[in-house]
Amino acid sequence: MSLLTGFPRLCFAMVLLAITGFCVAEAAWELLVVAVAAAGLSWSITEGPRGRTLPPWAVNALVLVAAGVTVVDLVRHGHEIASVLGRFCLWLILIKLYDRRSARDHGQLMSLSLLLVLVGCAHQPPPLAFGAVLLVYAVTGLYTLLLYQLYAAHERLLADAAEGPAADWVRRRPIMGRRGRAHLRWLAVALGTAGILLSIVVFLAFPRHIGRGFSLTGDQQQALRRSGFSAEVNLVGGSRITPSLVEVGTVRVAGADGRPSRDGGPFYLRGAALDRYREGSWSSSSTSQIQLDVPAGTITPLASGLEDAIRAAPRLVEVRLRRPSEVVFAPSGTLAIESGTSRRVLVDPADLTVRVPRTSAMLRRYDLWVDPTPDADVRRALYRGRPTPSRIVGEFDRGDPEHPDAPLVRGYANEILRRAGVPERGAGDNWNRRVADALAAELRSPPFAYTLDMSDLRRTSRDPVTDFLLEHRRGHCEFFASALALMCQSLDVPARVVAGYVLRERDPATGRFIVRAADAHAWVEVRTGPYRWERIDPTPSGAVVSRQRPDATIASAFGELLRQAEGTWSDRFVGFDQRSQSVLLERIDRGGIEYVRSVGRRIAEAAAQLNRFFRLGVAGYVWLGGVTLIALVAGAVLLRILLRRRRIRRELGLGRRRGPGATVAGPRPRDVEFYFDMLEALRRAGVPKPVAATPLQHADALATRRPEAAGLVRELATRYYELRFGARAIEAGEHERRRGDVVELQRRLGRRA
């Protein structure tokens, strides 16, 4: 009984957790206080022998009132259907808490709490606190749900018995075996573990792109983005970006003397250079990539003729990533790379970006030799003597009929130049720089504003950059960079968007920069010479501020811990999208293939070693294969025999006995194997021995149904009695005789036996 007595308390806790979770997801703290107080009060009012509940008419009236309030709520907040539904569930729960509490009412309360939690799940973005509440709710809910099945059944049994004539005869205490509570907990743990694993599999494997086709609110598919580096810039999706403080890695910048550089930053790490704009997204137009082998522990120049520059390189950059990446993050002016393991990299001579080919393992730790201000010869060597064109033919170029917004952008850029006093028509690298500076200065000043939340902006059919420039004038770094690059390109100024990290936070203890996902940034590079591109960051300076760590105190450490947890939550869970899914699957795929290959290599090495040891030569592999095959077959046969013995022992109860008679040795499974085979034969023939009947009784019963087999069954059963209970020993050669009897029995019973 004590197992079930705790159920109402658990159910109440589950409801409280659901209320808390919903209010946390809604960030409705006032509602949280009121609802939890009302719920807590209900416990002291309704529970106990002197508890009082609301009469049914009052409950019905309150439900009607709640429905009316919900209708009004729906009219006022029609776009927040989930919130309205959640609030309605919350009112119903509070009303039910003051209602009577039968098993059915408990079930309704649990269902409402589940609905409330589901509504909380639909909120975006769910905070970490909601995740914590959700976890506790899941654990509590599982155990409570299991307990509810038993509680409800017991209540129903007692209620039915109370109405019947045998009310006094029905036990009030439920009938249960030993250690029921421990078994229930064990089962809950097993179910919870299996459920979590399965749900994780479903979560990871569920194709995220399926719903796009029939989505009623298709633009919300990409509404949420997490901050982090992406090798492409897409302005269409992501109306709201969640800043993630997950640590991506660390970067140590040392001077020529090897000492850590004390430069406070920001420090820019280039990841991808994108110069082609199409339908709201940027990509790279470069098609030529040069393959470069990087031997382990060797400083490998990115181009030939850089040896002297590398020796005089004033800066060493050590990049340590938490996860392997196919993009080599490098600052501008990188001359050489060194890795602890042999790798192959691809260097793009057009934009000097470095990446690892897809067929090769990714990089996690590497060092870079950097000259932040390379001279002309070094730049020429880096670009391999191929100067970048003075004009990039982009789709926003003048005369492109496909983009009607291009004249608008160009007109807007000319207006800015006019205001800044920069001639609209010019030439030369200096003019390029002046144009870019003027446009960037305009973007950094009001009314342009930096924001990560653009969910309140109305999307039009125009190009997102045009919208940004002429309509909203609010956006994140990608919009600023895209606007500057497009305006430059519309004025024939070669410009490209660069995606990477801007490092702002330095660990005071180690002097290393800490790279977080939120440090992902986009800026612009403008051509200012045949081999020279200059970085221009049009994003308002307030967005890229130094984020220096505070001094290490307990509070700051705890805050950092919370930030880490929040970052992990938003990065790994909330922000898990199709891209993360594909990356994960690719990683698993790569890992699986590598594992299979490594196992194959080990087997081959072991076989070769054995072959060498026995000096068998080439034919030895045949011998080894044969021996392995025989061993496998022998193992399978042995396993089958063991399983059969185990089954015999279990079916006939030959295992170790407990209690009185434990010392009495029973027959070996092999000795009574014939009896087991006899039972199997009878079962297959459709005349199995009933559990309640003894073997001899069954033999008697068979005398009328299958007289041809009854005698043999009786004989075998008698012999089984002797061996099993009569302490008789098996005779020499009896195994074969009994086996023959069983075969004879099978023959008599028919083919199926």
Partner: protein, 468 residues
Amino acid sequence: MSATPPPATRAHGPGEAGDPVAAPAEARAAAPRVRRRYRFRAPFWIYCGLTLLAAVVAMQTGRNLLFWAFGAMTSSLLLSGIVSGAMMTGLRLTRVMPDHGAVGTPMVVRYAVTNRRRLLPAFGIHVVEVAPRPSWRERRAGAGGGDAPGHDGVAVRAWTSFHDASGTPALHLGGDPPPWTRYVEPAPAWVLHVGPTETVHAEAVFVPRARGLVELRRFRAWTVFPFGLIRKAIELDEPRHVLIHPRVHPLRGDVLSSLRNRGTVGSRVSVQPGPGDDFHGLREYRHGDSLRNVAWKRTADRDGLLTIERTRPDPPRVRIVLDLTRPVRSVEPAEAARLEERAIELAASLVHAATGMGYETGLTVYGADQAPIPVRRNERHRDRIMASLAAIDLDAERPARPRPVGSSREAESVAVIVVHPDRVDLSAASPHALHLSARQLDRLVAEPERAEDERADAATGPAGERAA
């Protein structure tokens, strides 16, 4: 109603070997067929709807928590099926029937639930008796009624009409309910937990409604554990019988004590020596005899001691005669059947009361093909008489001539109580017999609060009121 002739009337324990009533050989030899059934309950469909809704909303909105919720709900569905399936297939159930039941008295039927799994415990196991559906072959053959094997689950050998204790027909339900429900009130059994490799007995408290032999054939064990979504059941065929005795009413104490006034019942002396007071004879002294019993005067002229032997008092002897030879024709058939049932109940009550007071009792039934039961006194004998009463088939052809009351020697030393359904027929027994009618049953039944007092009075002295 079925009218299968009654088998042997001995009372047997269920499952005894060679017992044609309790465990026919065919039934024992029958294979314990286990059928598995799945039933998707309303919560299952609601849950599936919620899961689909979560999936659709997750796909529409891209909310990762909803994807996780969808995963959790899907895995719960999967685990529910796996766990409940593994739980039920690992169970072994056996029905343990009581020795007998009595109308109006709750009867506990136990189900031994054994969990054969080594790790997985079983929770929330319900056990109910069911009426199995006929197979498609039987349905095709049109086996729809009677005692056809497999029909309605229970091939009830109905030897009696179905009336409850108040005399009203026990069952007036529409349709075709399982026949055993005419005899017993169906009741479920439930066990909360059965540990791995453990056996727990679930109890179902049946309330018998009418006397007769009940055969329970099939029962179902089911569970909705762990999540209440899928009801997984196994059904087992295990024919078992139980005999329902007639209802026993507590009679007034003066009913039997009034027999003494009629001069036919009293203290008698046995021919065997015993611990009585009267002189029986003399014998040689044996070691251990009390010196108080030594016949000193007779010993004086002998060499050895002589011991006085006393008589052994015999308890009163009563033979209950149930006269069913003359069908009651003066009333409606239903009322006539009710009266006959009441007569059987009155006879059973008399047997109980007489046995309780230490009388030796015997039974003779006129109008039924049953041999008279001699006068004896013990629990087993009483059960034998009750079984005989339970087995009376009122629909069978009744012998025209009554049989004589016991042997001639016995007739001289027993009191005879003749129970009639309706009117008293004095020719049914000797002139000294006490005649009772079923219509008097209500007057003969003791008030609950006075029953104990009257029983005490009856033990101390005779009461003067004549019962008939």
